[in-house]
């Protein structure tokens, strides 16, 4: 059982980090970024190229992933989403745009990086094996880094000037604008941060799970699941959703294994019941 809990906690940490960027963009702009998984994949491939192919330090690769995705996110907000939000009264327009960018990224990534699964050398070798728990050291490092990133993100949102402005935007866009918050500027920063988080987590996890051009869609779906559990647009909700999903997956795959692949069936069934009782998830929207 110790192993099952350890697996669940590790999965939860990585899932929470994946969901953070998605929920940030949703909170700020009410945009469901269907391309979040593709941004994760792109981050993974950048780390693969810089660290795995060019042999540069892993930290540099992680930085490259984060910065590249931040730039892409900022450009997407400025030239695509801002324009569509300004010109269209229908919320579905941004969803269609997000879906289109997801397909676009899928095609570009396939073209640039090929169809194969890619992996990089382990950042730390060896396996922790004590007290009935087996956990490779690289997972422990990645899990710890994920927790550090989550904590840094929460602190930044709570105490920095930019974070406070973004929280104000998420709570009431019009009121924030009337109080002098530059909506366009902070929307762009928020989108860039969301994309950067996707890139960083993609870069982090390429050391554990590798990356391939086809996993963007499934990653997005899993991120949406976590956000739905925790409550859309709520940072704490995304973190809670990630850990709940990770734990449910780990326990389900052990307890229900005799019945075939019913773990996700059970998770989806539980989610349907849960959402019918709490449609806004655990923590609802907006944050603050």
């Amino acid at each position: 059982m110790e192993q099952v809990i350890a697996n669940g906690l590790y999965l939860g940490a990585q899932y929470a980090l994946i969901a953070l960027g998605l929920t940030l963009i949703f909170a700020l702009m009410n945009v469901l970024n269907f391309a979040h998984g593709q941004m994760y994949v792109l981050g993974g491939f950048i780390t693969y190229t810089v660290y795995g192919q060019l042999g540069l330090p892993f930290v540099m690769a992680l930085l490259a992933s984060g910065i590249t995705l931040a730039i892409i996110g900022a450009l997407m907000e400025k030239f695509l989403f801002r324009t569509v939000i300004r010109r269209s009264l229908r919320e579905e327009s941004t969803m269609l745009l997000a879906a289109a960018t997801a397909f676009f990224f899928d095609a570009v990534i396939l073209l640039l990086f090929g169809e194969k699964q890619r992996g990089v050398p382990k950042i730390v070798k060896g396996v922790f094996n004590e007290g009935g728990i087996i956990m490779p050291y690289d997972r422990l490092v990645v899990g710890a880094l994920a927790l550090i990133f989550i904590a840094a993100f929460v602190l930044y949102m709570q105490y920095s000037r930019v974070g406070r402005a973004m929280r104000a935007l998420a709570q009431d866009r019009v009121a924030a604008q009337l109080m002098g918050v530059k909506v366009d500027r902070y929307s762009m920063i928020g989108f860039a941060m969301g994309a950067m988080l996707a890139g960083i987590v993609g870069g982090l996890l390429v050391t554990i799970t590798g990356v391939n051009s086809g996993i963007g869609g499934p990653i997005s779906i899993k991120a949406f699941l976590m956000v739905m559990i925790g409550g859309a647009g709520v940072v704490g909700g995304a973190i809670a959703g990630g850990f709940i999903l990770g734990m449910m997956e780990s326990i389900g795959l052990t307890v229900l294994r005799q019945y075939g692949d019913v773990t996700y069936l059970a998770i989806f069934a539980a989610l349907m019941v849960f959402l019918s009782i709490r449609p806004n998830g655990l923590m609802g929207k907006p944050w603050g």
Binding site: G8, G114, E115, Q117, T209, I215, L253
Partner: protein, 400 residues
Amino acid sequence: MINRRSTLKSMVLGAVSTLAIAAVGIPSAQAENKELKIGFVGVTSGPAAAWGTSNVRSMQTRAAWLNEKGGVKIGDDTYNINIVTFDDQKDPKRAIAGMEKMAQEGIHYVVGPNVDDGAAAVRPVAEANGIIYFPYAFPKALYQKPASNAVLGMIANYQSGPAIYKYLKENKGVKTIAFVAANESDPLSQRDSGVEAAKALGLDVVAQNDTYQNDTRDFTPVLTPIVALKPDLLVLSGVAPANAPLLIRAARELGFEGLISTETAQDAKVLEEGAGEYANGFISVGGASTPEIASDEMKEFVARYTKMFGEYNDESNTKVYALEYIIDTLKANPAAINNVDEFKKTMDTFSAPNPFLKGDAKLSYVGATSFGQKRQLAVPMVVNEYKDGAFQTLFVGSVD
């Protein structure tokens, strides 16, 4: 007097003249050739993109090579090969649309689809439009009478599985076996036939219900309970090349010390990058894959493929064969070029040299034992063992 304008004029005239001479004066053999369109309907995007992409690239590499040599002589005519591709995105509905597109283009020979449901879905379209197709899918109903238009393009798991288990039982002392499969039709059917074969051999099946979502990225929770059972052999039924290294790595990191195998083709580079030394000893099935058996022509194919696409895919060791069979069968009976009934007649007696293997290996259609009719390509059943970035031949088998 030569000024700037007249110089430019001369240059333009010169260029046009050169192009005109090139166009008129070099009526190449290729320009006179007829065109033979061969189709591909399969998956070249999404998580399973590697399966179809290796098909398409193998066909394009071989076609470019043959066209470069002046085309293919079939009967009295010489043809350039034109590969027409359609990405079905692993969706049966799109596979049907793809096969309909092939029919509209007058194509009679199509490679693919890559998965069971796609291969089953296109059957009515193929049969109604006189198309012979070469799926990489294992349901026997596709190849048994009354079906007659599908030809299995590789070794089925129910053919390779028993051979692998038998070998490991006799040579490595395997007594207990566990299966894990993705929750999709192909891997699940492969798992079921694998379990059946293992039981028939007297092996103790300790796990057979464990499955995973095909988009799983972390397999530790999936494998934790299986590794605790300590089987001698862990079979990754129908595992996609993208998932194989992740499963191997997770099993080894959890302390699994037994053997790991699969009946599907894998890629050495993907295993090396994803699992490193953990992949040593991993057993899979390939085609003309190892230096011991590959001919010089196969080596040139690999070089050309690498030059065209930047990196070779070891799955193409099997995927290289389908186009070769189509062309050589048409050479053997030119009347089949627009008549698949003629093609079917030829299949029963067809035999041609296998250009990809050393020695006097032959291309022929097999499958009489498994399907009651010859509806399978005789691809060599090479069982490989991965070792330090490359495959080594464990043993070579065949199908009749």
